[in-house]
């Protein structure tokens, strides 16, 4: 082994030189640390790797442009294994060892729920794509935002879509789920405003036939029916609606009315004209194009777009707050989307504008990225499709 001896004088000289050198060089020694905690394995395995890649592409661009606050950014990527226990271990390492300022991209609601308390207690900022309504109700003290629309926002948009179909009498058929009651509440609020009555029925998703339930629904002669179950029960429901000769419009969520359902029903006229609905990335936006380029994916999923937005928002918050801490991110995350500010679709442009003393209005790949005080997004794009001859055709993204 060779020992390198550094004399006192040499060390002093190096120190002075380092202090005197431009910020960019010094940044190499004192990087800003951020983390992704995405599911690289487990149920979320198909999503996590490309999510981490999207975050890395943003960090790479910003580093190329000189970093933020004159400091380089280091991104640490950990695997939450789609498992709360593993996620907590990984988060502890990120917070205690790596001392990251923000953790981005937690996917499963169970993971986010487990990791969130570690984050707010250590004042580490958390950005998530989990959907459960309960998450933003946690006492997170502002240290959490989510880019996935909660069920209230989703159902509100469903209600608006039902009205846009010209409905006068809507009917919802839904199994007993954690969001059943909130679905009714939201629709009972939204639909009457547009002159549409709303009735509903909770069904048992384990039944093998819904003939009597369908009879009950059709007694109210609805013109639009929201089939709000999961794939197996929705298959049975759609068949029974067809048998009963239902002539109105049918609408459902894309997570249940999907290609699998169409294949399984096996008869195109049964599902002909059915509308589906899902949160959508802001396809065609500048940010969306950057996600495509950064991940090499021609059709990036909503979660990937959301993590791209997390990374941009966090970096611009750091620039706005002039500090790379969770606290600074918490206080400044909403300053990246100031209406009237310069519209940007990436952190490089945003940081430049902020450093020049301007305000920015970030237009993200997943949507506008405006958050309420709880950390929920106020709006995002939704994708509406209609089944025609057994194929899903795009109606609109709005």
């Amino acid at each position: 082994m060779t020992t390198i001896r550094i004399g006192r004088r040499a060390a002093l000289a190096a120190g002075v030189a380092a202090l005197a050198s431009p910020a960019v060089v010094r940044a190499q020694a004192d990087p800003i640390k951020l983390a992704t905690l995405t599911p690289l394995t487990g149920a979320g395995g198909p999503y996590g790797p490309v999510m981490a890649k999207a975050a890395a592409s943003v960090v790479e661009e910003v580093n190329k442009a000189g970093g933020v606050l004159g400091r380089r950014i280091v991104l640490v990527s950990e695997d939450d294994q789609t498992n709360p226990e593993a996620a907590v271990r990984a988060a502890r390492k990120l917070i205690d060892v790596d001392k990251v300022a923000a953790i981005m991209g937690t996917w499963a609601s169970s993971v986010t729920t487990a990791v969130a308390p570690l984050c707010w207690e250590s004042k580490t900022f958390l950005c998530t794509v989990s959907g459960a309504d309960s998450i933003t109700l946690l006492p997170h003290q502002g240290f959490l935002i989510r880019t996935q629309p909660n069920s209230k926002l989703q159902v509100t948009r469903v209600g608006e879509f039902i009205l846009s179909l010209g409905a006068k009498k809507a009917f919802t058929m839904i199994p007993q789920t954690p969001f059943t009651q909130s679905t009714f509440d939201v629709l009972n609020q939204v639909l009457p405003k547009g002159g549409c009555t709303h009735q509903s029925l909770i069904y048992d998703d384990k039944k093998t036939t819904y003939r009597t339930e369908v009879d009950q629904a059709l007694r109210t002669s609805p013109d639009v029916l929201l089939a709000n179950g999961y794939t197996p029960d929705t298959v049975v429901l759609l068949k029974d609606l067809y048998r009963a000769g239902f002539k109105g419009k049918i609408l459902g969520f894309a997570y249940s009315i999907n290609q699998k359902l169409v294949d399984q029903v096996g008869q195109p006229e049964v599902v002909e004209g059915v509308y589906t609905f899902a949160p959508s990335p802001a396809e065609g936006s500048g940010a969306f194009e950057k996600v495509k380029a950064g991940t090499g994916s021609a059709n990036p999923d909503p979660y990937t777009c959301q993590v791209y937005d997390h990374t941009n928002l966090v970096l611009m918050a750091i620039a706005n707050g002039k500090a790379a801490t969770g606290e600074a991110i918490k206080d400044n995350i909403r300053k990246a989307t100031v209406s009237g500010g310069k519209v940007v679709d990436n952190a490089v442009d945003g940081i430049k504008e902020i450093m020049a003393g301007g305000k920015v209005d970030y237009a993200g790949a997943s949507g506008p990225c405006d958050f309420d005080e709880k950390g929920d997004i106020l709006d995002c794009k939704f994708r509406y499709e209609q089944i025609k001859a057994g194929k899903f055709t795009l109606v609109k993204i709005a």
Binding site: Y203, T208, T212, D215, V235, R243
Partner: protein, 285 residues
């Protein structure tokens, strides 16, 4: 009118429920333990029928395939897992059968995944008889179920083996004295009973869809039907199935579909409290 329609719907689902309920109760009559692995066997039968139907077999051939596969699998589990435990009493065997049901369910899951599948049958619009809506397919399925039931009754009433089965169920010792070999009757009851359960799984799946939980979904209704009619009584199982079917559909109108499961439990509770032997007692025939 809606009540009448619900009753008709209930008769249709009751007919479908009756086939596996007969199988379940017939096995109880001979083997003297409630075999809860019917949940897994019904699923297995549904998938066996699905494969056969997909392979181009006609309806009768597919039903035969469902019967054979379910019968053999059910018999094998009885021989290996349930019957060796019966000496310790009905409860250990019943508990073991819950386990084997889970094994079968997950065996199907391993092979086919969790996605629901549908038989490739044309879906037709309903026809109206007066103001009552009936589905031609469900009538066809119902016809098949009724035919099967007739066959079972005829076999029990008129064939030597059927009579032997009834005798053995009535009084095993006396039957043995008469030269009826109990283990042969037990084997037959297992095979036929489980075969009927498998066919029942397939009939239930024909109009809706099948997945690894197909059998589990009907387990409670099936058990309730058998208990209501009198465990061990074949006509009782048919009567129980019709009553449970109609009660479940009517409950949708009264208390809402989400309480459907309560119908089965309440039926079991009432029968066990007021008439523990069931509506028709426990005579096998």
């Amino acid at each position: 009118m809606i009540i009448l329609q619900a009753l008709v719907n209930g008769i249709v689902s009751g007919t479908l429920l009756a086939v596996p309920a007969i199988g379940f109760t017939a096995m109880f009559a001979v083997l003297r333990f409630p075999n809860f692995s019917v949940s897994g066997v019904a699923t297995l039968g549904a998938f066996a029928g699905y494969l056969a139907y997909g392979a181009g077999l006609q309806m009768a051939g597919s039903l035969a395939a469902a019967f054979a596969v379910a019968g053999v699998a059910g018999l094998a589990f009885d021989k290996v897992a349930h019957l060796p435990l019966i000496k310790q009493g009905a409860l250990p065997a019943a508990i073991a059968s819950i386990a084997t049901g889970l094994i079968l369910e997950n065996f199907v899951r391993l092979g086919f995944g969790n996605e629901p599948r549908g038989y490739d049958r044309p879906i037709a619009r309903d026809v109206f008889i007066g103001e009552i809506r009936v589905s031609p397919q469900q009538l066809e399925t119902m016809g098949l179920a009724l035919l099967l039931m007739l066959l079972v009754f005829a076999a029990l009433a008129f064939t030597r083996i059927g009579k032997a089965m009834r005798a053995s169920a009535d009084n095993p010792e006396l039957a043995a004295l008469k030269g009826i070999r109990p283990e042969r009757i037990a084997t037959l009851a297992s095979f036929v009973g489980m075969g009927l359960v498998g066919v029942g799984g397939m009939l239930l799946g024909l109009d809706s869809s099948i997945d690894p939980l197909t059998g589990t979904r009907i387990l409670l209704s099936l058990f309730a039907a058998a208990v209501l009619g009198g465990l061990g009584s074949v006509p009782g199982a048919v009567l129980g199935a019709f009553l449970i079917g109609m009660a479940e559909e009517l409950s949708v109108l009264v208390v809402g579909s989400q309480y459907r499961a309560a119908v089965g439990f309440i039926a079991i509770l009432l029968v066990l409290t007021l008439r523990p032997r069931g509506l028709l007692g426990e005579r096998a025939y």
